[in-house]
Subunit: 277 residues, 2 copies
Amino acid sequence: MPDHAHEPLDDREVLAACRVHSDTALADHDPRATFGWDKDAAKDRFRIVADEVSELQKRLFAADERALLMVLQGIDAGGKGGTIRSVMNRLNPAGVSVHGFGVPSDEERAHDFLWRIHDHAPERGKIAVFDRSHYEDVLVVRVKDLVPEPVWRKRYEHIRNFEELLDDEGTTVVKFFLDVSKEKQRERLQDRIDDPDERWKFRKGDLDDRVMWDDYQAAFQEALRETSTDAAPWYVVPGDRKWVRNLVVALALRHHLEQIGPEYPPAEEDIDGLVVE
Amino acid sequence: MPDHAHEPLDDREVLAACRVHSDTALADHDPRATFGWDKDAAKDRFRIVADEVSELQKRLFAADERALLMVLQGIDAGGKGGTIRSVMNRLNPAGVSVHGFGVPSDEERAHDFLWRIHDHAPERGKIAVFDRSHYEDVLVVRVKDLVPEPVWRKRYEHIRNFEELLDDEGTTVVKFFLDVSKEKQRERLQDRIDDPDERWKFRKGDLDDRVMWDDYQAAFQEALRETSTDAAPWYVVPGDRKWVRNLVVALALRHHLEQIGPEYPPAEEDIDGLVVE
């Protein structure tokens, strides 16, 4: 924590505060954190940062050298869909693919847990967004005891190795855990039930997961600690306030795209001064 | 043509005017047409119609019954990329996939011409956008004489059958030809050359295609006539003015989504009045 905690944090400090390390405790992260930001100013800044992300995406696409994979995890009603809508729809849709990973199909289950994931990795120049991901295989699988512990426990290393492969071969991996309080989840689930246009999204099974809240938090915390690497860092994003969440995600995307530093490729030779007839 | 050609056309008349029939002549379509619209008013209307398309997309996604495939064809600098950026990025990116079809890979060429296309057909609930498509196999392939005429000529029927299959099995197909004048293409290609950030997009080969302008127009006209069906209609979109183009595409998408008429699915039983603890 910086000395002047009452002053707004700068962008670097915010990302540092959200970044997961091997001793990160979710209990130390406040889902209602604002980093000293004013709401209206943060919304204005979000639009500016999102436009910068959009410009960087154009260059990423043009350069056609590296890709970016954004992984989104969180509980039901944690805001994964809203984050995708808010942040990604300011980008050129031709350069973005979004894939939601649900319960595996029979064919997917007949392979190792990374098989279906690898298939959706982005091609050079593109940004892929995973709404849920291979992390379900150390989260729900663990909490619901779907595979034995020795199997899911070894997956941390498989995940680290896989993500290092992606990074080394040209895909930058950035991962976000949307950190929502139990009270905020209650409120959002209730809103779903009460809104006729949203009610179809609600499954009574969502409440079973809510009963296992502490088990999920423990599983998230261990998974984040075990797999937040320089090649593929995790960020804990305060999720109760959408305007904070959106700005943090945009800042992190901008940071990692700047690290890639994509540039427009050179034109073909002898084009300078060419006149089209 | 309606009697009062000096009055703005209504939406139905615009779509009817753009719709391709078996006797459509591209020469009768004006790339600079405005349908009597005022520019500022049309831009405002575009935002309204795009929001309606966005609401229909939410229902399409929720209903999870039908999909929509949007095919975009046109010459280089015809505005395919700009149309995708303008129209599609008002939609939820989680429900949209965009795929550009370039020169086929060795593996793709080892199969029939619809093999790679079928692979990218949208799943239920989704909208897929094809930036170029299977139509290249009756366009560039014909103009550049890449396969014998008896082969590409039979493809019209294969395409009609394939698109009817998609429609019957749940995917509505809507196709847009972006109709740009030769002078406007000259202007846009020149802008690309003169803009350092755009120059990388320019290929000298683009000028070779321009020399074969009339051949391409003839190939487009025949392909449109042969494959504009009730199951998968073509629209000729006036492409010289972006604000006309965007509004026409949005109107057609809205029309075809309304034809699908997606509704939010019913909630699970016993949810009414449920209180989340």
